[in-house]
């Protein structure tokens, strides 16, 4: 028999437990969320920031007017790949995910394709001729186990974006052409009281851009690619040398003080504000940081980080759209993507590295992005490392970087630890 005291005690204790357990989401849905049955309503989920969300919404509105649809656009800007995929995943499991979502390629988009939450888009590739309209290599970045699960609309290369007046203040006449020149430029900047390279390590991925560049410099293209797939051991001199240089950048104050705790979204624009001389980022920074701060593009410049290797490469990645496998409106969702992929729409949205032919950035409105596209977009690229590794391994890798910069592990130990991480992943 249940006594009153027993009942109260049981339910109170259960509430306490349930409150916590419910925090996991509980996994009450195992197959992804079904969206509404076919209707004229669509929902698009993205991570555009304040400077570009309005441009996307304007294009979506045009699509709605032409197609009699009503599309809701939701955005989660700011945290990068660290948080956005979680929100997306939670929405999908919550029972009503978006019809269309924006996502990065590589290992960030892969789980959605492998879990079959994202629709196989092969028939839409045929219907809209995307294979012939979109850069083939970019399509490869959103093809998982042979299935085209996403439509890439951006193929981005990472380089150095700098503040011309601070370079001039330090007596740097031209962007560095070799790694030695880059180090010399850093010394000159520090000598005039300017922090050279603005990167933040709060989520790991931003400061990683420096290390992956240093690894490309020490290991070269072939070895770097093999390291990323686990085909070669990380426990080798080239990797140790890259970690040694990484530490050197911090010790010589070429990075901001306390960089590990800094939020990338705070730090990246510092080169525009004159707090750092440059950052390592992509062409979106012109619209998102320079023009958003009402500064003239002419006060800034960009250059490919010198690797001293042939071919010269920079890190790169793709971003695209996926369609919910349970969307009741897959045909309309595909039509929306095709609309967004039109060169006119891409240009209207200030897409600075479109995968679509005929949508190159306008040199009048985006002179620096245009310059980058002309000078460097033809160069080969290596997969940016947070897309090369699954999230768990990427976080372990960031942890190794953190330990190294804090001095708790030496470069050779860091290389050994990386080998453990990558080989465990490669075996799994």
């Amino acid at each position: 028999m249940i006594t009153r005291r027993g009942f109260l005690g049981f339910t109170s204790a259960a509430a306490l437990g349930a409150g916590l357990s419910a925090c996991t989401g509980g996994g009450t849905s195992t197959g992804g969320g079904a969206t509404e049955a076919a209707s004229n309503n669509l929902r698009l989920f993205t991570y555009e920031d304040d400077s570009t969300i309005g441009l996307l919404k304007a294009q979506v509105k045009k699509f709605d007017q032409q197609n009699g649809t009503t599309t809701t656009v939701d955005s989660l800007p700011g945290s990068g790949a660290a948080v956005y995929p979680d929100k997306l995943r939670t929405e999908l499991l919550g029972g009503k995910g978006p019809d269309v979502w924006r996502i990065w390629g590589g290992q960030i988009g892969a789980p959605f394709a492998k879990a079959k939450q994202a629709l196989d888009l092969s028939k839409y590739y045929d219907k809209y001729g995307w294979d012939s309209k979109i850069n083939t290599k970019a399509i490869g970045g959103m093809t998982f186990d042979g299935v085209k699960s996403g439509v890439p609309f951006i193929s981005l290369g990472i380089g150095a974006w700098y503040n011309k007046s601070l370079f001039a203040k330090a007596g740097i006449a031209a962007p560095p052409k070799t790694y030695a020149e880059l180090e010399a430029a850093n010394d000159k900047l520090v000598a005039v009281g300017v922090t050279p390279c603005g990167l933040g390590g709060k989520y790991g991925w931003d400061i990683m851009r420096l290390f992956e560049y240093l690894l490309e410099h020490t290991a070269g293209p072939d070895l770097h690619d093999k390291l990323l797939t686990g085909a070669e051991s990380w426990d080798r001199p080239e990797v140790v040398q890259a970690f040694t240089l990484f530490k050197k950048w911090q010790d010589k104050k070429w990075l901001p003080q306390g960089a590990l705790a800094l939020d990338p979204s705070d730090v990246e624009p510092w080169y525009v504000q004159g707090k750092t001389a440059y950052t390592i980022t992509g062409p979106w920074t012109e619209a998102g940081a320079i023009l958003a701060a009402k500064k003239s593009s002419s006060a800034f410049g960009n250059f490919e980080l010198p690797t001293d290797k042939t071919p010269a490469r920079h890190s790169g990645f793709v971003e695209g759209y996926m369609i919910n496998a349970r969307s009741g409106n897959a045909d309309k969702a595909a039509a929306l993507i095709d609309f967004i992929l039109q060169p006119a729409a891409q240009k209207a949205m200030n897409i600075t590295a479109s995968t679509v032919k005929g949508a190159e950035p306008d040199p009048k409105t985006l002179p620096l992005a245009s310059e980058w596209a002309q000078k460097y977009s033809g160069n080969p690229f290596y997969t940016i490392q947070d897309q090369a590794f699954p999230k768990k391994q990427a976080d372990q890798y960031f942890s190794v970087q953190s330990d190294l910069l804090q001095g708790s592990v030496k470069p050779d130990a860091a290389a050994k630890k990386m080998q453990e991480i990558v080989s465990a992943w490669a075996k799994s």
Partner: protein, 299 residues
């Protein structure tokens, strides 16, 4: 008596009426709390990735993995440090403030409001504000230290293992002091003045009055403060997530954030849910004495 004769006798089955009234609330409770909790328990026994439609039953292997996970070891240690510090410090400060504000102090309502305000602010706002205060280059804390010539003490507070966890605890203490203060204040006002008068007549000093009158009278308040603070401390998540994201490296991971990373980021929902179950069991173990005391009082 006429009065009692007018009251109708309860019908057969009337003793079930209270339970019938409870059914709507119970249904909501089962649907939104018990069912997710049981689901979580089930998923902790699977290898579900948190995204696919399929999963495999793996028994207790997720639980056996826990002690071998070095981050779990770090997280448990951090949880213990967090629990001890964020209970002891706010409780002591809250008690001191309550005693001070219970006396003859000018502007008591304003002071109570000031001290309690952090407790009602959104946690993410607090994390953001303190994140800026701790900014190694432009934050107010380092700027102040440099301004008064203590440049050597300026640190990347959130950017190094040695200080990150402690730096996150400071705003946690700041926001959690208001709660015990308020409870102690209410309890202090319920202590009969006669007790102090009698103690004074017996020649007890202020310090003796504090130990022999005030503290014993505050026992129920101590119990509530400690029990709720303990539960709250063990499931800490938001402050650490917002301020350090578990970093640098994994140095500020606690069980709550590590559960989150596994469930939501690493596609290891089965393992992450096992961590959640462990947190829940600990919270229940801590909560049972409190619940029992409350139900005993209710009886």
């Amino acid at each position: 008596m006429a009065g009692t004769a007018a009251i109708p006798k309860p019908k057969r089955g009337g003793r079930w009426s209270p339970w019938l009234f409870a059914i709507p609330a119970l249904a909501v409770y089962v649907a939104f709390l018990v069912y997710p909790a049981v689901s979580s328990l089930f998923f902790s026994l699977t290898n579900w990735d948190g995204l696919s439609a399929t999963y495999k039953f793996v028994g207790l292997s997720n639980y056996f993995k826990l002690p071998h996970d070095p981050v779990v070891v770090t997280a448990v240690k951090n949880n213990l440090i967090w629990t001890v510090v964020t209970i002891a410090v706010p409780t002591v400060i809250g008690l001191v403030l309550a005693i001070a504000l219970n006396g003859k102090v000018h502007g008591k309502p304003i002071l109570r409001l000031i001290f309690y305000t952090p407790a009602v602010l959104p946690l993410v706002s607090i994390a953001s504000i303190w994140g800026w205060l701790y900014n190694p280059q432009y934050g107010a804390i380092n700027s102040l230290l440099r301004a008064i010539g203590l440049d050597g003490l300026a640190q990347p507070w959130l950017g190094q293992d040695s200080t990150a966890l402690w730096a996150v605890m400071v705003p946690a203490i700041w926001l959690r002091t208001g709660f015990p203060m308020l409870l102690y204040l209410a309890a202090l006002q319920g202590i009969p003045n006669e007790l102090y008068e009698a103690a004074t007549v017996d020649g007890a000093s202020k310090w003796q009055q504090f130990w022999h009158v005030t503290m014993p009278s505050l026992r129920p308040a101590h119990y509530i403060v400690l029990a709720l603070s303990l539960i709250d401390s063990f499931k800490v998540f938001d402050m650490i997530y917002a301020m350090t994201y578990g970093g640098p490296g994994t140095s500020t991971q606690v069980m709550g954030t590590w559960m989150y990373f596994n469930v939501f980021q690493y596609y290891q929902a089965g393992y992450g849910t096992a961590i959640a179950v462990v947190i829940t069991l600990v919270a229940i173990a801590v909560g049972i004495p409190y619940v029992r005391s409350q139900t005993r009082e209710a009886s």
